[in-house]
């Protein structure tokens, strides 16, 4: 089976040769299996977003190769393999909620009937059915983020890329959203690459946590999270949950010291 994402020997240098040159990533090797939920975790500025954006073909690597579903990243983008969710919901304010969710389908030339039906289904999934006709400004931050997730899922992308999607949310909403994303992930079977700097969030959600170190960004360790599926509030009290937290924290600490 081809891997969902295969990153080999990737380096990224921003503005090479100029005084504001930044070596964001060095020697990244990472393989993600289809249907995996993988988190990128690390201190601010370690290159998590950059790595995610390289996978999504929003940034090109300086050296190395990226294969997505056995294709190059630009080809995967043309094939509409990616659903992307940023930290900001990035809704189009002139479109109602349902028309925001329909936008990718519209761009992909799907028929009106299919669009409406898909958008409905996605809004049901994120429990915003009654808000279909609202404009983004009429929603709370958490609701906007759920619309962004619905939009990213509307065309059934094989890979979901999420960059700190819950960064702006309060703890309660955040935990609810985490449960929701897990439910959606279980239902759709997509591959998820998830950026966060919250250790509990990474451990709770992921099948594997990729811990990164800063300057230059490198992979410091990968922790398998072999907690039982499906995960729920009980998982957070599981003794293995604490062991995994500690394991991840220790790698981060060793990175910090060096």
């Amino acid at each position: 089976m081809t891997s969902a994402v295969a990153i080999a020997a990737v380096d990224k240098v921003f503005n090479p040769g100029s005084t504001d040159q930044v070596e964001a990533l060095r020697g990244i090797d990472l393989t993600v299996a289809p249907g995996e939920f993988i988190s990128l975790l690390g201190p601010s500025g370690c290159g998590k977003s950059t790595l995610l954006r390289i996978v999504g073909d929003l940034v090109t690597p300086t050296t190395g190769t990226v294969a997505v579903n056995g294709k190059t990243a630009p080809q995967a983008r043309k094939d509409r393999d990616y659903g992307i969710v940023f930290q900001q919901a990035t809704l189009y304010e002139w479109r109602t909620v349902v028309r925001n969710v329909e936008l990718p389908l519209e761009v992909m030339g799907r028929g009106k009937e299919e669009r409406e039906q898909r958008a409905r289904a996605m809004l049901d999934l994120v429990q915003l059915t009654e808000f279909a006709a609202h404009f983004p400004y009429q929603l709370s931050g958490g609701m906007q983020q759920r619309v962004a997730i619905a939009r990213a899922l509307s065309f059934e992308p094989s890979i979901l890329l999420m960059d700190e999607p819950f960064g702006a949310l309060d703890e309660m909403t955040r935990e609810r959203m985490q449960a929701e994303v897990l439910r959606i992930w279980a239902q759709t079977g997509t591959t998820v690459v998830f950026v966060t700097h919250s250790i509990p969030e990474a451990v709770f959600l992921s099948s594997r946590v990729v811990v990164m170190s800063a300057r230059p960004g490198r992979i410091a360790g990968i922790v398998d999270i072999d907690l039982p599926q499906p995960r729920d509030e009980v998982t957070r009290e599981h003794p293995r949950f604490y062991e995994k937290l500690t394991e991840v924290r220790e790698i981060l600490r060793s990175v910090d010291r060096s």
């Binding site: 043309k78 990616y82 659903g83 992307i84 990718p104």
Partner: protein, 271 residues
Amino acid sequence: MTGAVTTRRMPSVGTAVRHYLPAGLIFIGGIALWETVVVVFDIERFLLPQPSRIARVFVDEFGVVVSAGWLTMRKAMFGFAIGAIAGISMALLTSRWPLIRDGMMPFAVAVNSTPIIALAPIMNNWFPITSIWPGAMVVALVVFFPVMINAVRGLSEVPAGSLELMDSYGAAPRDVLFKVRIPHSLPYVFSAFKVGTTLSIIAAVVSEYFGGSRENLGVYISQQAALFHFAEAWAAILVASFSGIVFYLAVVMVERAVMPWHASMRNVAGT
């Protein structure tokens, strides 16, 4: 954009009254003050006529000033339409070629801050002076630059994330233009339109100060002033102000219909 769900409230009669009351009071107070000052200090009527006298002349001369106002307003609207269409077309054309756009913008901004109205006498020579054209061309120029500048900004200053999402959907450039850049530019364009309504009435009236057919508002004002008929001049100025307000409100109504989603539309009655 945090907190609870907000829904659009219809302003009740009570809130509408409370909203417009201060402006109404200040208007009435201002007129009363003007009237009093003129009477108390015995100001010569050719320097500053009383509002009551202007009102009387306005009623007497109603037919003349209103038809003059309508002619000038038509000129302003015609010029506005030309300037707005040209400005938007230019912005759309140059949005395809950022190099041309970036090379042109500094000049557009520079020209925009010059008194374009100074071209009026030249336009009077270029076009038949009694026709609608010389004035309309000045208006068009005055409207063109702010509309083009704002449209260019609206089309180009789209947040990076919005464009990256479209990229990630594999969107074609025309989809990016029609589904993101153009809708994003609407608030910018309408803000230029609103400025443009006022500017276009000013430009139409002032360009008529430099000559034109006698039925026009600007010609009427300058002739009455030259004859020391100041109340007549003021009555005509009143018509010009009123035209400006009507034009502005018309654009605001279109704006509301076109962008119910925009921030400026959220609290119609104010808070």
